[in-house]
């Protein structure tokens, strides 16, 4: 690859590293695996960069990259199914990330956050990913459809179901206390 081509790739795709890591991290719930997946996804992205330019949507490197991250994570999940199911939720690292993000909310936000994490954790991967793509990455329904490979109607119904389940879990939790 020409050095200028690599620079182009880096300029378009590297700025979305945080987004890629966020998605991989919430899909795998494990820092180490998320890092491996992101690295793998970038290699794939480099390989298919020609095809991406062919679409002429140069402004949308993010959704394109996230689709690759998402597919890499799913391939990885199938390959390591046993590991994935037994991976412990990494509460400490998540908490640290939150503490950095907003120190003011740490004191009184702890239990609410924990409840939300557990509720998210209980969602199936196809529901968790639409929540992450919509709420954390801010993607449109169309983009979420492109990333996950389903029609917009399915995106809409998955989001509705995911949110309904989250609300039910949170409500049960409140009533249980």
């Amino acid at each position: 690859m020409e050095p200028s081509e690599l620079e182009r790739f880096e300029a378009i795709v590297l700025p979305h590293l945080d987004a890629a890591y966020t998605l991989a991290r919430y899909l795998t719930r494990n820092d180490h695996d998320a890092q491996d997946i992101v690295q793998d996804a970038y290699l794939r992205a480099l390989k298919y960069f020609g095809g991406f330019r062919g679409q002429g949507s140069a402004g949308d490197g993010r959704a394109w990259l996230l689709a690759i991250v998402r597919n890499t994570a799913h391939t990885w999940r199938r390959r390591h199914r046993g590991d994935a199911l037994t991976t412990e939720f990494d509460e400490k690292v998540h908490s640290d990330a939150v503490a950095e993000a907003n120190p003011a909310t740490v004191l009184d936000g702890d239990s609410a956050r924990e409840t939300l994490y557990q509720a998210l954790d209980r969602l199936g991967p196809e529901f968790r990913e639409v929540i992450v793509l919509r709420e954390l990455e801010g993607l449109s329904y169309k983009e979420i459809g492109d990333v996950t490979g389903v029609p917009i109607g399915t995106v809409m119904s998955r989001l509705a179901r995911a949110r309904r389940r989250l609300q039910e879990t949170l409500r049960n939790r409140e009533e249980g206390e």
Partner: protein
């Protein structure tokens, strides 16, 4: 509009994805129906709670470096190209007729091939250190923790400095193996960048002058020899800043070594 219909459209409405006429119809219903209005409020509150409590994350710096390194590796590597140090270039300009003058004073007994091999090892070690869990054996920003850690692990005690005040905080240290011998690797930070400093006792006569610079796979390598140590530093940091860091190291070394060297013999 029935409750069932509203629930189907509510998320799209909250997400701003509903067609304008549908949105107007839904709003009319919300203003008339307390149950649905509460449902709507709950959805909005849930989205806000997720955004507040479940943050988007920052990729670790080590991952950033590792991805860059991997991409450059995959895109094809280039051979090490040594640039002439500025001092040598000036010297050559002044003494252009003296073609036999060595290019700087730095080739004392070390062949170009040896240098290239060392550069390759140093770079490989730098990239490997960026992989998760490989960066440091001892993690501390305290030079008085890092320096003694090497006791008993090396046959020399590497000088460890704290340049936090100058924007290069100490991250830690580790043992590494370069050029067929165990060496000290010290890690310093600069914003999101990491700098690996490799050093081991100099084997030959001291060599002055500015550091030599090489660039490979987007990394800069600087190499020089103080009276006591052979130094290699490598980073993806900009060359100017990396030179500044090398200067800090050289100054610190000369400050430490200076008075002792100047002390008259009894």
């Amino acid at each position: 509009m029935t409750h069932r219909e509203l629930e189907l459209q509510l998320d799209a409405y909250v997400d701003g994805e509903l067609a304008p006429e549908d949105a107007r119809e839904l709003e009319a219903h919300l203003s008339a129906c307390g149950d649905c209005a509460r449902l709507h409020e709950a959805r909005v509150a849930l989205s806000a709670a997720i955004r507040e409590q479940v943050p988007a994350l920052h990729a670790p710096d080590a991952l950033r470096q590792r991805v860059r390194a991997t991409l450059r590796d995959a895109a094809g590597t280039t051979r090490v190209r040594w640039g002439l140090p500025a001092v040598a270039t000036r010297w050559l300009a002044l003494a252009a007729s003296l073609a036999t003058v060595a290019v700087g004073g730095w080739r004392l007994g070390v062949s170009r091939a040896d240098e290239d091999a060392l550069a390759g090892q140093v770079l490989a070690s730098h990239v490997r250190s960026l992989m998760p869990g490989h960066l440091t054996d001892v993690v501390s920003s305290d030079q008085h923790t890092v320096k003694p850690w090497f006791n008993g692990k090396l046959d020399f005690s590497p000088p460890v400095y704290d340049f936090a005040g100058r924007g290069f905080p100490l991250v830690g240290g580790r043992l590494d193996y370069v050029g067929g011998r165990p060496v000290a690797a010290l890690v310093y930070g600069r914003r999101q960048h990491l700098i690996n400093v490799f050093l081991w006792p100099a084997t030959r006569g001291s060599v002055g002058g500015g550091p030599r610079v090489a660039t490979q796979q987007g990394y800069h390598l600087l190499q020089w020899t103080s009276p006591e140590y052979a130094y290699w530093i490598v980073s993806d940091l900009g060359l100017a800043e990396l030179r500044g860091f090398a200067q800090l190291l050289q100054q610190a070394d000369s400050t430490v070594a200076g008075p002792a060297a100047a002390r008259p013999l009894p």
